[in-house]
């Protein structure tokens, strides 16, 4: 039986592994190779000179990188704070409302993020839903809500909410009620239960949720373009420009490689430390 399990397991993994090697690993290797090419070439048949990385440093691209990292970090912290009470409610307090919330949040994932962000433009713009009605009802309006850094962070928070909420709720559900009850019986305050029981015991969910939001927000493009106008240029936008207007594939690749390196280090480091079987509930 064990021999059969081993054989079937290996065999069934083949399609997924083949797909990912051909369309995930290989492309990333090509980007890595391209990033070392002399600037302005469109094939890999040149001697590597790493000049694109030099341009990346000297032309101030690090500013875009810092903006992307900063906004992703801010969005992650804000999301953690606003998702925690909701995730706690979903895991421990709500009954049927948990299902309503889950379905309600998942459904938004099925609407293209463009359309949802565009909806926020229509909501927040001058003469938009909020401004227009405030003006019509109270006279005063909502000025300058769009095209700045806070609104980009707001967009990131909005788009990546599910990626924080669901892992958090899963993490909190793993905290045994007995542990919380025992802490309370022993005289722990609400704050102590939070910091000494809830937060440490739901750490896997917190880590996965934060990783998801931070990594996805670092590579985000549409939020800054649609809501932010040209307030700041994010890393993904620099990558897009290098490939399209700039026609500089090695530079675009070098920019991508910095993003890929940050993501890969964070993701591999974290994923290596979590036990998926226990999170997803394996039996036997």
């Amino acid at each position: 039986m064990d021999a059969l399990q081993r054989r079937l397991g290996t065999l069934y993994a083949v399609p997924a592994v083949a797909l990912l090697v051909l369309s995930f690993v290989a492309p990333l290797l090509v980007v890595a190779a391209f990033s070392t090419m002399p600037q302005g070439v469109f094939s890999l048949l040149h001697l590597p000179d790493f000049s694109a990385y030099g341009t990346l440093v000297t032309q101030g691209y690090w500013q875009s990188l810092l903006w992307s990292l900063f906004m992703a970090f801010a969005a992650t912290v804000i999301l953690f704070v606003i998702s925690w009470p909701l995730a706690f409610g979903m895991a421990k307090v709500f009954k049927r409302f948990t299902l309503v919330l889950t379905i309600g949040v998942v459904l938004t994932l099925f609407v293209s993020e463009n359309i949802r962000l565009f909806g926020w433009v229509l909501t927040l713009m001058k003469g938009g839903l909020i401004d227009g009605y405030l003006r019509a009802w109270f006279g005063g309006g909502l000025e300058g809500a769009l095209y700045n850094v806070p609104v980009i962070i707001f967009g990131l928070v909005y788009v990546y909410l599910p990626f924080m909420l669901f892992p958090l709720a899963q993490g909190i559900a793993m905290v045994p009620d007995d542990a919380r009850q025992a802490a309370r019986d022993l005289g722990a305050s609400r704050w102590q239960i939070l910091t000494e029981i809830d937060l440490p015991l739901s750490a896997p969910g917190i880590v996965v949720g934060s990783l998801f939001t931070f990594v996805l927000a670092t590579g985000a493009l549409a939020e800054a373009k649609l809501l932010g106008g040209s307030a700041v240029i994010v890393m993904a936008a620099e990558v897009e420009t290098a490939f399209t207007y700039g026609q500089d594939w090695p530079l675009g690749s070098a920019l991508s490689m910095t993003l890929i390196a940050i993501v890969a280090v964070l993701a591999i480091f974290t994923i290596a430390r979590i036990d998926l079987d226990s999170i997803m509930g394996r039996r036997g």
């Binding site: 706690f88 401004d131 909410l161 993701a267």
Partner: protein
């Protein structure tokens, strides 16, 4: 542990507030799509459905819908088949590299989609494939197959391994066990994975951005229009895309319900 009544009420209100905020932008798009004037401004004074007529009769929109539909259908088919076997390797069978495989499958979900799309564009260029909607299918698969694998794996975790063993002890071949036991047991997971795959592909923009070449999907076209300036067609086509997703969801929810009812009247 009991939570105080006041805290419970506050949490419910908070949950409702978040749901409202999540759907507020769609409300704005909805209003914009039925506003009569060419230049949108709230409060909307005159309503009209003429933009819907224009969108529905437009050849461009029809082409975009067809491209997006075929892409989503192919992505669904491939990602569910690969995800079905992947989930069994992920959750069900004990084999040597299972833990490593779990982590490898998960990795693409954590990568920014625009970067994945770009990497694929360069890879296709390096091996001499001209980008079209077919290459976008591959791009969607990179991100969506891990998700279908995970969804089916959740189902696979919860089924009793003894059922497969029993089938085998009664003399079923591996193929028969797969078809008669494993497949029906995983069916609910397969259906929801398929639904996720289709809808995520239908609405995806960042993966399509670099990989469709001369073709364009619906979300891509919308993005291009949004960046280049307002057009009354944008909210209208956006709403149509939302309605299409909603319709598919309703059908998917209704079918099992109808089958159950048909069965119960049959047996009655």
């Amino acid at each position: 542990m009991k939570t105080g009544r006041f805290l419970t009420a506050a949490l419910y209100l908070y949950g409702i507030a978040i749901l409202v905020a999540l759907y507020l932008p769609l409300l704005s798009v909805g209003f914009a799509s039925i506003s009569k004037s060419r230049y949108l401004s709230f409060p909307v004074r005159r309503y009209a459905f003429e933009w819907y007529g224009e969108a529905l009769s437009s050849g461009t929109v029809a082409d975009l819908v067809v491209t997006s539909l075929i892409t989503a259908a192919l992505v669904t088919l491939v990602s569910v088949v690969v995800g079905f076997f992947g989930a069994l390797a992920f959750a069900r069978y004990s084999w040597r590299y299972r833990k490593l495989f779990q982590k490898f499958v998960l990795l693409p979900i954590f990568f920014p989609q625009t970067v994945l799309g770009l990497a694929l564009l360069m890879w296709f260029n390096a091996i001499g494939i001209v980008p079209s909607w077919k290459t976008a299918v591959v791009a969607h698969l990179v991100w969506i197959t891990p998700i279908t694998t995970l969804i089916i794996a959740i189902r696979a975790y919860s089924f009793d391994p003894a059922l497969e063993e029993a089938a085998r002890d009664m003399g079923c071949t591996t193929l028969q066990t797969l078809k008669e036991v494993t497949l029906p047991l995983l069916a609910p997971g397969i259906v929801s994975a398929g639904l996720f795959a289709f809808l995520l592909s239908w609405g995806n923009f960042p993966l399509s951005l670099f990989t469709t070449g001369a073709d364009s999907t619906l979300p891509e076209w919308l993005y291009a229009k949004m960046v280049s300036g307002y057009s009354p067609l944008v909210p209208t086509v956006g709403m149509l895309s939302v309605f299409a997703s909603a319709l598919l969801l309703l059908i998917a929810i209704a079918i099992p319900f109808l089958i159950n009812r048909a069965r119960s009247t049959e047996s009655a």
